[in-house]
Every structure is written in structure tokens, then in C-alpha cells.
Symmetry: D2
């Protein structure tokens, strides 16, 4: 009953097979291999973006940090949500790579509010050289709380950003989950909605370690390549990252894996609601936040359930009936049996 | 009627004379001069800190940024107030020099609230390597809103910081004003209240360009010196910065200049209150915030009054009776006549 | 006939199997998995270093840059050879991570000369704050030219470094090849010879992407972990990097793979010498430099041989009989048949 | 008998008077003052560059580091001479500000050789993303050894740089001395000779602390201003830096001061040659290198002469007749009497 994170799961069999197959024989290093070339072609086709450039890295933190560094100068602000991954979980990597200042905006369900964004842009504009300027907007789709922006939400925010002269970064660690949930096309949810760079994550959805940074504006490619190398993120045997990404994007596997994870989260949510356990978030992807008591927490843990309390700054122990917020994440490997076992551990039902 | 800032003022005559006198004859460069030596001795005596090391720079931004860089590693958080100078007015210099992440805390009158600090420290502690750790606490005395921390306030905050393993930086751009207002001793308001590094500013209080960074722990000196040089802040003709600082600290001049500026702000505040103009801040130093109407603003400007609207992200124009917040700053050069002229421009009284 | 680099080879079957096996079931993320634990235990045993801490990353550039950053402050010099990988092939990553200044030293066969090192240390010592101080020494074993330092050479250099207060980084991208060539023990060639941090590379010797950074002084561990995360080099599914490293280090596989690659390079060298082709370097590992004519180069290329000219700043075309230096690298996958085919393409023999 | 450096001298009376005069009354801060405006106008006129933008800072290190940062991205190389100030005397400031890699080139008399530059550019071009690209060329006029580039030398180097897509930085710490020596016009020796940014130093030639960074391409201005603030180099009371620069540039004072210093160095050189003391450098400015014995060094020191041994990595003591290289610098304040006193201390004559 492992619901800690979708990165606790293994590698999807199709990707494992692709790695093994790619290992047959020699191949050019550093991305000059046929797998990398095919991945770029695949992404261009799937995203209806024939000019896009695609660069692979192996962690989401590297993808986000490098993308942001390519969008804004060191003397500028990156506007992101208070509960974004770039703020909470990357140990300052976006600032390290970009030199820019992560500036936080609030908003319901981890979604940036347009008013909040406009207010911060006014501050960035009015301060002259005394204040960092408007640099880039960073949006997560799905968000860290598992919610989604509507396509209209996205366009509203990206229009504000573009009008202020900023580029838009989309953290798409769970972009496939968002697509699977909404049925939107990849293009609709990315560049047509105003994203300039999309970090498309496969690692949390079946890969071993593979993230595609999609530059919809090819003019940013040269800078990005230099930054990637300089950050130590250019793999010599890049074909093995590319082979994962190719298999993942082929024949809709990415969406099937995401759809499965989403479905397991829905099954869990329904079961929890049926047991009267409050589900706190909109279910946009494969992540679920629930409010339980410390007493139940102890019983779940004793029964072998694994998950995180969120935020981790909550006290880890508390009185029997005191409320505690927990996060439950389903993956491409989560089974109905596991979900049902967890629900039984919650009791009732 | 210049009330824009205390940095619109000139050089106090004593400091100008000291610069001229220091120019007679050759002297060793880069701080190996007798003026620099005497400044260190003076600071040690005035602050009752015989081991302290004192380094001079020429801007407050350099002082703050270098001090913070010496207190914490790049993978940590600097906790500061939302309305602090390091956040609002230094274009990311603290982050540039330290590599650390400026993390904001709220609190009334630009004073960091102990609860807010504790809450952020819990987040910094709970995140493991995924989050920047607890790095340093930055306190401004006086604050950017012209208010003061009591000595007890300071001890409460610095104790929290020290218990979390953090060093404490005090931005003392207007430290002399705070001393003059409260009568506390330099030692009481700095290291005895828990400050590890004090950036003691003279520029806004009579100097041409002179700031002393006081390291109460001499072990930080070597790193600081290297950082200063590497930042381009080691003056070759350092004697001229030192000569200003020496004159400023001699025979209580620093406190007399500050006391004058504070007194002018009080006179102004009394006059405004007498005219029914709301003064918004506690008067801890030489800065005053007032709420006026846009109509009055236009009349004051037409009459030759100069000041900033604050925050500058407010709209610069508005309806006759709509409220506008303005900032008025007095300096060591402000005269009673100027204050009274401004009050007359406000009308009434 | 691919002799471009050992990173053109695939994954050794044992490592591929280990990745597949590690994918069975869920596991804790970010290195809190049993594979990572076992790798640390294995390294400690093999290197007779029970206190060492071991951190995994996926590229050699990341390993080197993070290791160097942990050894020296930003205002210091990293002393390395003019033809080292950190100077020539990492696009400034060591400087990006450390902030330090890569300062070059000459010496035969890409080995740092003790005299050169001493001379640079004198400069670093004499400059006061005007010059970067002595930061760290970086040694490659084997070197970029495929040569080796003797154990005595290493001790001489590391003693000079330690006496100047510097830590020692060993770039061990081809450390296994050096061990296999000399029969020295891992401990003898690393910490007993004065290395403080060893970057032990598996990627060029059978792995998909796996490098172990071995900190012989565990006090550096906390900083290293933070830097790794902040650089985006902490894998969520770390078990797959660890599984490669575990398989590689188990039952001497690393040395067998290295020994094979070394043997192929020897076979090639013998064949070249027999054909009168000058081999330019000492054969310490699996790399060979040869001098050929542009005419021969064209015939080899036409015959399907692949290799790099070195340095790449040489003209890529030239007169029939003009000399050209080329680099030939054998890998764990190179076969006798391939070597013999290449030799036939050279003609004669 | 102070011949250590031109920065051991005081402030020229005209500049001191300008500071005092500028202190009368209030003025806008941060460079929005009339002095700053007049300086820009003066520079534009003197340099026949009506579009140039001029920014003031207070140290040469800040000027050079900020200028270089504005010319090249972090993943590139700055080409400079092995004995340049940016390499030897700025503790890594150029790298800190730019993120770029200082890459050294040799050449006689501290002048970069065109062949050396071309060779490095070939390396920068051939390495792809594995190597830092060609970033910027940095030339010192006069050089650190007191020699000069001819206008033709300058054009040769800057043409090579421009053809490789690089901008050109000119370190003009002693640019006035070079003008005074050669009679070239400011335009001829700067932008007409291919410089894109000139750091024009007044500090070593009569100022207290004033350096003008002249951007011949105004498009770089916005970035420069942000970088200056972010580095802590924007003075609040900027008028006092500007007032120095204005006085210095007015009525040819800068050239008169430089001419005096140059003349004193010539007088000293003639005296030394007459005494058989070898003068090692071309006399392009106010710096002179001489070879003496350790015995003479001890006698000169005992007689009160002050100067530096150069390079400082030379042993500070040695046998009576062993040779030692020393550096002697004359300033705007050096008198004939001082020069003659020093010559007498040399004996003979």
C-alpha cells in the first residue's frame, strides 16, 4: 500500500524493453543518436509544432531550472505559486540556474490568481533598477495539489505574462495526467494556451528518468544546450533517455499510463467519500489530499499504508481526534487491489 | 522642500573636512591605512566589542549583500520582512552575493513577527534536501517603515534564529536614528540583542558614501574580505571612506546628526496631526508615512514639495478625494524652515 | 569500427539485468532505497574506507563539478591540467558549481608537474585578497591522454596540495582502467594516495549512466547532498542508478570490463606499431593517440572507421602527407574482430 | 619616496573642490542628478560618440567585471592576457559577475598576441557545447606592464574578436596615460580602434574613487544598469562620483595629470639607465619595471623607498647579488624632488 508518490513506482515494461533494445550496438553520444532525433520528430507531431526543439534531461528539477534560466535574466523575477514545486521542492535549483528571484503568488488550489499576478507585475514595473524586473511566469499543469487550470485560465495568465514582456514556463511533471483527465490536445494545453517552454515529465509516469524540455521557440535552443551541458545534464549515452521517451510517446502509452493512475485516484476518492473522509482537492490528476485524524493515521500506518503528511511542517504526532492532512498518490502501477486494501484499512465503507 | 530621501542630502561639513585632510600626502592603499585602523578601534570602543572586525564599503546594498553572504550557504533561506530593503530595493543583490533564497515573513509595521519566523523555520527544517535549509535572519533597525524593534523584540527574534542554528544580520542603514530615538547603547542594540553582523550606515546620515560592516565574530573576517574584493567593493583609496567614518563616529557626531533628522520628522508629524493628516507609522526614526488625497498631492507637488508615493506600485494619479500614501523623509540637513514651509503647503493648521 | 569513445558503447548485460530486476515493485525515492544503501556498503568495503560516504549521480561532469564545489570556496583556485576534462570538455561546469577559478598547470602526458603546481601555489599565496587563494587540486587518473600517475606521483602532488591547505579531487572517469592496468588496490590509488574525493565513473565502462562520488571525509556529506539536489542531480528513482553501480562493483565486474577495454587498446597499439604508425601516448588505459597522415585519415574514414581528431581544433582536412593526430578509444564492447578490422584498414601489417 | 602605486596618491585639488561644491544643497539620488548628466555629455563630446551611454562606479574592479558581464554569456570565454589585471588582481570578480571563464593568452610586454588569440578562438569554436564558446576579448591600454598597443595592434585584435562574434572590453585604468603618451584622440584609441566598452579610470589619476564605464553601443545600457545595482555599485549620492569625473574631464585636466605622471616615470627611467640599472619595460605610461639586486633592494628600503616586487610570488629575500624585479609607479602627485631622491638612493649617477 505505497501511496507516497508516483516516483515510488518502477519502470513501465515498454520503456524497460526500449532501454534494452537501444543497448544493442554502438551509437553516437551526447544526443547525436537516432533515438533523440526520433523523439524530437514525435514531439513535433504530437504537439503540432514543427519548429519546436526538444532537449532531454533526467530529472524534473533540471528541466524546470534550465527552462526558467533560458526564459529570463538574473536581474528579474520568476512568478510562481506559493505551493509550486519550484518553490517547495527543488532546494533553490531554479534560482541557482537562472540567478533570478522566485517571487510568490497565492491562489486557490495551488493555481496562480490573475489578480495576484497583475499586482506583482505592477511592483516589478514600478521599482526601476531597484527591484528585479518582470522575468518569467511559471505555471504547473497539473498543480502540486493535483488540480488543473482550465484552458481559459491558462490563456488568461499567459496573456498577462506576455503583455508584460515575460515568457511562460509550464511545469508539466504531470502534464500527461492533465491531458488524460481533460481530453485536451497536447497543443491546446501547451503552446496554444501560451506556454513558451513545456517541461514534459515521464519519470513520474512510467519512465526510469526522462524529461523532455520542449522549446516552442527554436531561437532559445542554443542557449538551452549550453546551459544543459554546463549544468552537467547532457548524458553521454543519451540514447537511453531518448529510448524511454520514444517508447512513452509511442502509440499513446503516455496517456494510457496517466489515465490508469488518474483512474486509481478516482476510485480511491470515491471510496474515501463513501466512508465520509473529506477529500480536500479537485481531482485533476493522480493526487489526492484527505483530512484524517491522528488516530486514523496511526492505524493506517500500522496496517502498512505509506503516504506523506502534507505539508511536512505539520506535527507528525497529535491527539487521537485532531485533524491531519495527508497526500495519497497513485501511479501507473497502482492496482485496484491496492486501492481497495487501503480503503479497507480506512475502515467503514 | 525635498523630502524624498535622506540620501538627497549633501555631506556633513565635518566629513567633507575629513576627506580633504586625508588627501594630504600618500597613504597605503586597500585599507592598510591609519584611518581604517582608527575606525576599527573606534567601533570596538563604541560598541564595547574589542574583538569585532570592521570592514568598510560604500553602499548599503553592498554592505547587506556581503554580510548575508558571509552568514549562510547558497542552499539556505534568508528570512526577511516582506517590506525590507533587501527584498524591495536591492535588485536581488543579496541573492546574487549569497546564492541563498530570500524568504519573506510578514508582521506589523515592517517588523518580523516571531510566529511568522517560527512557522518558516519549521518549513525549512521539515523539507530535507528538497528545500533550502535555515540560513540567516535579517532584521532592519530602524525598519523600512521607520518603526523600531524594542530590545526585547530583538532578543526574541535573535534567540529563535540562534536556536535554529542561524546567524543574524542587522540592516542598520538608520541604526544611528534608532539609537538617537531610544537612548540605547550601540552594544545593547546590536550584539547584546543578538546581532552577529551589523551593517552600520553613514551614507543616509551625513556621509558621502560610507558603510561599516561590523563582524562581532572575527572568525568571519577572512571570508568577508575575500568576498568584498571579489565583489569589486575594496576601494584602493580606502582612506577616504575611512576618514568619513572616523569623523562621523567621533565626538558623537553620528548621533547628533541622527537626532536632528529625527527631530525634524517629529516636528513634521506634529504639524500634520494638527492639520488632521493621518500619520500611518510609529515614529522610530526620520521617516514618516502619511495618507493624503490625490487632490492634496497635486497641490503639494505644484507648491514644490518632493517626496515618494509608497509603495510606488500605487497609481500615480487618482480622483481628487481618493487616498494616497506618501513617504516623507527628513535628513541631517532638513531645516525647521523647510518643515514649516511644507506644513504650510498642506494648508490649514 | 567505432573507436570514437567508450561512451559510444551500450550497457553491460549484468547492469541491464540489474535495472530490470530493480524495477519489480515500489521503492522509496531519492536514494532512501536498499540499492543505494548496498552501494555505499560495497564501496566502503572495496575501498577499505568504513566511514566514506557515497553519492550517486548520472554524468561525469556532474560528479566532478559537485565534488570540486564541495572542496573549495568561490574565491579560490582549482588547479588542474591544461588538458584535463574539467578544462576542455565540461563547458565551465566546475566553475558554475564551485564559483572557483580553474587555473591551469602544464606537464607531460597530461600529468600535472609538481614544479608547476608549486609555482602556482606561490602565486596563490602571495596575492593576498587581490588574487584567488589556493582552493583545490584536481587530478585525473587515468588522464585525458590515457596515461597514468604512479602511486608515488600521486602522493607527491597530494602532499603539496595538503600542505597548502587544499583538498584533492580525483577525476576517476577511467579509474577502473587504471586499477586494471596497474593491479593497485582501490584504496592505494585513492585515499591512501591522498585523494579526498574520488569521482568513480561507471558510464564509460559498461553503465547506462552511473557515477559514484566517494567522500573519504564524511564531514563533507551534508553540503554535498544539498548541492546535488540544488543542481538537479538527485534522481527520484535513484534505485536504478544504484542498481547499475551495485552490479558493476559486484564480483569484480568493473575490473573485468576495464581490463577487456585496456586489452583491446593494447592489441590495437601493437598492431599499429607493427605497421609503423606512431603511438603517441603511454598506454595507461583504453585510449590511444596515433599520428597518421590526412591521406590515411580519408581512407580510414571511407572504410568506415570512426574516431576523433584530437585536439578538435586541428584542421579537419589537409594535404595527403601532412600529419594528423587521432584518438582511438576501446570499450568493454570492443571485439578483437573490430580491432583487427581497423588494423586491416590501416593497411600493411 | 612612495612608488608603490598611483593609488597611494591623494585627490587632485580640482576634484576635491568639485566634491565640496556638489555638496551644497539637495540633489536627486542614484544618478538622476545634473552632474551625472553633464558627465555623459562630456564623454560623448570628448569621445565623439553622441550615442554612448556612460555609467559611473567607484572601483576599477567593478567597472571591468560589470563591463565583461554585459559583453558575454556565462557559457563563454573571456580572452585576456596572462598578466592582465582581471586575471591577477581582481580575486575572480570578472568570473563572479559574468559567470564566464577567463581564458589566458600570452604575448610580449603583457600585450595579447594575435596568433595566440586566433589559436584560442579555434579551440572555442571547435568544442561544440563541450567547451565554453567565444565570449569577449579584454584588452588593457595601457597594459599591466606599462606598455602600449599601437592603434594598429588594437585594430588587428579587435577585428579578430569581432569576426569571431565577440565584443571587446578595454580596461582603461591608465587610458589617460596612454593618450598623454601617444597624442591619439580618445575616439581613435577606443571605439575607432574597435573597443565596444571602455572602462575609463580616474581613481589612479587624481580621483578619490571614480570610474566611467562607456558603452559605445547604447543597447547594452539597460542590462548594465541592472547589473550595477544588483552588484551594489549604484551610489545613492552618485553626484559625488559624477562631480569628480566632471572636474577630471574638464579643460583637459585628466591629460595634464596623466602627462605629469608619465613625465616623472620618464625622468626616473632616464636616471636609472644613466646608473646602469636595467629598465625592463617599454615606457608607455607611468609604470616602470627595473631589475636590481637583493642587496640594492635592502639599501633602497632602508633609505625609505617604497615599491612592490613584481610578481609578488618572487622570494622577498635573496643573496646580495641575486637579481630581483621591482615595479615603480609615479602618480599625479609625484615630484621631481621625489624622483631625484630615489635616484640618489640608487647611488652612482
Amino acid at each position: 500500500m505505497i501511496f507516497t508518490s508516483d516516483n515510488a513506482a518502477g519502470i513501465a515494461p515498454e520503456l524497460l524493453a526500449a532501454i534494452a533494445k537501444a543497448s544493442e550496438g554502438a551509437a553516437p553520444a551526447y544526443g547525436a543518436d537516432p533515438w533523440s532525433e526520433r523523439v524530437e520528430a514525435l514531439v513535433r507531431e504530437l504537439f503540432e509544432a514543427p519548429e519546436a526543439r526538444v532537449f532531454l534531461v533526467a530529472t524534473g528539477t533540471a528541466a524546470n531550472a534550465l527552462a526558467l534560466a533560458s526564459l529570463c535574466p538574473p536581474w528579474s523575477a520568476i512568478y510562481g505559486h506559493e505551493r509550486s514545486h519550484i518553490e517547495r521542492d527543488e532546494c533553490g535549483a531554479p534560482e541557482f540556474y537562472s540567478g533570478a528571484k522566485l517571487t510568490l503568488i497565492g491562489g486557490d488550489q495551488a493555481r496562480i490568481s490573475p489578480e495576484g499576478l497583475r499586482a506583482r507585475i505592477r511592483i516589478g514595473t514600478s521599482g526601476g533598477v531597484h527591484q528585479v524586473g518582470n522575468g518569467a511566469l511559471s505555471i504547473s499543469q497539473a498543480t502540486e495539489l493535483g488540480s488543473l487550470y482550465s484552458l481559459e485560465d491558462l490563456r488568461t495568465l499567459t496573456t498577462i505574462a506576455h503583455e508584460a514582456g515575460m515568457g511562460v514556463h509550464m511545469d508539466g511533471t504531470r502534464f500527461a495526467n492533465a491531458l488524460a483527465r481533460t481530453g485536451a490536445s497536447p497543443a491546446e494545453m501547451s503552446w496554444r494556451a501560451g506556454a513558451d517552454i513545456l517541461c514534459l515529465g515521464a519519470t513520474k509516469n512510467g519512465a526510469m528518468a526522462a524529461e523532455a524540455v520542449i522549446l516552442f521557440d527554436p531561437a532559445r535552443a542554443e542557449e538551452f544546450e549550453r546551459r544543459r551541458k554546463r549544468g552537467g545534464h547532457l548524458f553521454s549515452k543519451m540514447r537511453f533517455v531518448a529510448a524511454q521517451m520514444e517508447a512513452w510517446l509511442t502509440d499513446g502509452l503516455w496517456l494510457r499510463l496517466a489515465s490508469h493512475a488518474n483512474g486509481m485516484a478516482e476510485r480511491l476518492a470515491e471510496g474515501l467519500r463513501a466512508r465520509g473522509v473529506p477529500v480536500l482537492n479537485e481531482l485533476g490528476a493522480n493526487i489526492l489530499f484527505a483530512e484524517i485524524t491522528y488516530g486514523l493515521h496511526r492505524r493506517l500506518t500500522a496496517a502498512g499504508a505509506r503516504y506523506y503528511i502534507e505539508p511536512p511542517s505539520q506535527s507528525e504526532t497529535g491527539p487521537e481526534h485532531a485533524p491531519l492532512t495527508i497526500r495519497l498518490v497513485c501511479s501507473h502501477e497502482t492496482t485496484e487491489a491496492e486501492v481497495d486494501a487501503l480503503l479497507r484499512a480506512f475502515g467503514g465503507g
